[in-house]
Symmetry: C2
Subunit: 230 residues, 2 copies
């Protein structure tokens, strides 16, 4: 196991310790969320916790959860106790950029229903300002794509996400535009302005949603709380 993988496992295990019997969990997507799902499965198998159910943010997460023995439910009207997910950038006040994996709309739906959202990441994701390295991934409607792209040019450089020659299509049947917006001063304002464009369905900006973060650093794990950063 590489150092990076070992650190992700450590972060996932730490997040797994937050899970208590009877909880409904939001299960994030990606290489940092996966070790969390595995850790929960292990605690269930060892009998440390019981009666835990998960709501998955992607097909991949649902499959992994099934493999490690976490029962999966769909996202219904009931609230979730805890959601754990990765992020592409973690900025001041734990505002986030997510969506390089393309699952951010479902991740946001799940996060919005959770009492607590805990982010798991390595230290490379910490930035002093959002937009330092990552674009803002937008889920956009296919109809009128060129018109939406034209509107987005007021905010930066919009780039349609492709894989090979073809546009990437989300689980919801929409397209993704990565908006290179430069350093982001007011994430909440930018989020609102982007959502006001009719063709923009969802943004990868998660403003005021994360409660805490568990971050792997060279010196070990760092626990960040929204109340204490920013």
């Amino acid at each position: 196991m590489s150092d990076v993988e070992a650190m992700k496992k450590l972060v996932g295990a730490a997040a797994g310790e937050l899970v208590e019997s009877g909880m409904r969990l939001g299960l994030g997507t990606g290489s940092t969320a996966n070790p969390f799902i595995e850790a929960v499965g292990q605690r269930l198998a060892e009998g440390e916790i019981s009666n835990v159910v998960g709501v998955a943010t992607s097909v991949a997460s649902a499959e992994l959860a099934g493999m490690v023995g976490i029962p999966i439910e769909s996202l219904d009207g009931a609230r979730l106790d805890l959601a754990v997910d990765g992020a592409d950038e973690i900025g001041p006040s734990l505002d986030l950029i997510k969506g390089l994996g393309g699952a951010h709309l479902r991740e946001k739906l799940v996060a919005a229903r959770a009492e607590r959202l805990v982010i798991v990441a390595d230290a490379s994701k910490l930035v002093t300002q959002l937009g330092t390295r990552a674009p803002v991934p937008l889920e956009v409607i296919e109809f009128g794509l060129a018109a939406t792209v034209a509107e987005l040019e007021d905010f930066g450089e919009p780039v349609l996400r492709v894989r090979g020659e073809l546009p990437v299509v989300t689980d919801n049947g929409n397209l993704i535009v990565d908006l290179w917006a430069g350093l982001i001063d007011q994430a909440a304002d930018l989020d609102r302005s982007l959502l006001a464009l009719p063709g923009v369905i969802a943004t990868g900006l998660f403003v005021g949603m994360a409660n805490s973060a568990i971050v792997a650093t060279d010196g070990g794990l760092a626990y960040l709380d929204r109340s204490f950063v920013g």
Copy 2:
């Protein structure tokens, strides 16, 4: 022809007079927008105007435009000179509720690209406050529908739109929730709050978009301009 149909024809003809040669037009959807499309076709046929192209907000509008000889283009990056469409409610400052026909997302995309949006309607659509009779139609994502409905309960009574036993599916593959929100004080604020919900893709609130309205009243046609109402 009934009185209502005669009035709609009169309104459509009046809107048709706004069209000039060389214009790119947004073509609305519904029984009040249709006579406008027919009027433009007639003016083209009679040689009063030429070089007009249309961008349709629905398959039905595209078909009608084709029948009356208006060349149809897709919504690309270029701006539209004029869009003409109906509305379900016309409130102060020409803020609108649209979407009882289920085409409001495409209508909004087209309207957003137009230099001018002119609403055609009969006087029954005029209200002193939005929400007087109509719900706010929302286009919502199918994933997590129950969670979205639960969030919407903070704003009123959300009702999934069905036809027979099955949910209505939009041209974009999403569902429609009609939100009975009561009288709406601050349409712009409500719009922003609804769009901030991850599951809400589009609202039927058109705030600050319409420039003018041509309304059929018992006394004849009334021309309303955003600058002079509200």
